[in-house]
């Protein structure tokens, strides 16, 4: 039976990882180092598999989110930025990978490609202490043939699960049914569920159930159709991504042990290689 971990301490002002009522996290000392140690692991693993690193802005243009059907799939979740310049229509990025599709729009891919990127993301979801408004996401994004994208997802699901369990997290991998890209109606949700397009690696972080710490997503041709990203054959490429919510990994680890011990455990683990 899964152990339910209390996260009540994250609201204590002197906690290593403190979360405000608005869902804004603050990390101190070894907890801050823990977040970047985790990111190092994910980043290095991505680079070792041949992913190219990209750094994207925190802001994202409205038309990129519109083209991604973000507003339809997640109504009310995007945070608009007020700009002093008239005509600027930007939002705080809800995910890093949207920048990748925009970067590659109207391109023909000669080969399968992978990118890794890390950024601060913003989602105005329900706030329950695990849904943060502002959080850090490391992503690995794959584009190319369907076989390549599916294989990459498989590899990452195996690696990430092994890594989490190696850190003594009670992590479980399962298909997810919550709304995903373009998930605005029952038909899309059923298709997503039926085709198992989204898996989540979750830990029992609070008494109401488990909390995802990573997701493994197949988009099929959803984004590549909308951003006109093709294979050399002329057909739209497939895409997929793997996303790690770094603060949630920290919360899961800090619920089990002190930040210094968790940091040491992460630093000595090589299971992602």
């Amino acid at each position: 039976m899964a152990t339910v971990i209390s996260i009540s301490h994250v609201h204590e002002p002197d906690a290593d990882l403190w979360i405000s009522a608005e869902g804004l996290p603050r990390l101190s000392g070894a907890a801050a180092a823990l977040l970047w140690a985790l990111d190092d692991k994910f980043r290095n693993a991505a680079l070792l598999t041949g992913a190219e690193e990209r750094r994207f802005p925190t802001l994202i243009a409205e038309d990129v989110l519109e083209r991604s059907e973000y507003f339809a799939a997640f109504p009310g979740c995007a945070s608009r930025v007020t700009s002093p310049r008239p005509g600027d229509n930007h939002f705080l990025s809800p995910a890093v990978c949207y920048h990748c599709y925009d970067m590659l729009k109207d391109r023909i891919l000669a080969n399968n490609v992978a990118f890794t990127c890390c950024g601060t993301c913003f989602r105005s979801d329900v706030r329950d202490g695990t849904h943060l408004w502002d959080f850090t996401m490391r992503e690995v994004v794959f584009l190319g043939s369907a076989e390549f994208v599916q294989r990459q997802r498989e590899v990452w699901m195996t690696k990430a699960t092994r890594f989490a369990r190696g850190l003594h997290l009670d992590a479980s991998l399962a298909p997810a049914n919550d709304p995903f890209f373009g998930a605005g109606n029952r038909g899309r949700k059923l298709l997503q569920s039926l085709k198992q397009l989204k898996y989540e690696l979750s830990v029992p972080l609070h008494s109401r159930g488990s909390t995802p710490i990573a997701s493994f997503n197949l988009h099929e041709r959803f984004f590549t159709n909308r951003f006109q990203i093709s294979l050399a054959t002329g057909e739209p490429a497939h895409s997929g991504c793997v996303a790690f919510g770094l603060e949630r990994w920290c919360m899961a680890l800090l619920a089990r042990e002190a930040a210094t011990a968790a940091l040491a455990r992460v630093e000595e683990h090589d299971d992602l290689r």
């Binding site: 109606n185 029952r186 059923l190 298709l191 569920s193 039926l194 085709k195 198992q196 041709r221």
Partner: protein
């Protein structure tokens, strides 16, 4: 081919895939090539529910039971109608 498979196959090919050049056989994977989109899956489920005479809970709509016309018929029409 059972009556249920025949009837479902006719619905899939004549209604759902009316605009496709390719046609499904009883063992054709329906969800591999994007043949069935988010609207068509709802039509498919509605047809199966009418034929079966009962609602299909979302948790039963899984690939093991829905991969092909033959599997849908076997899991929801032939068994449920008995």
């Amino acid at each position: 081919m059972t009556h249920q498979v025949e009837s479902l196959l006719r619905f899939v090919n004549d209604e759902l895939l009316a605009d496709c050049e390719k046609k499904a056989a009883p063992d054709t994977p329906l969800f591999d090539d994007g043949w069935i989109d988010s609207l068509k899956i709802l039509h498919l489920i509605a047809f199966v529910e009418i034929q079966a005479g009962r609602k299909i809970p979302d948790e039963l709509i899984v690939m093991d039971r829905f991969r092909t016309v033959g599997e849908i018929a076997r899991n929801f029409l032939e068994t449920w109608r008995q």
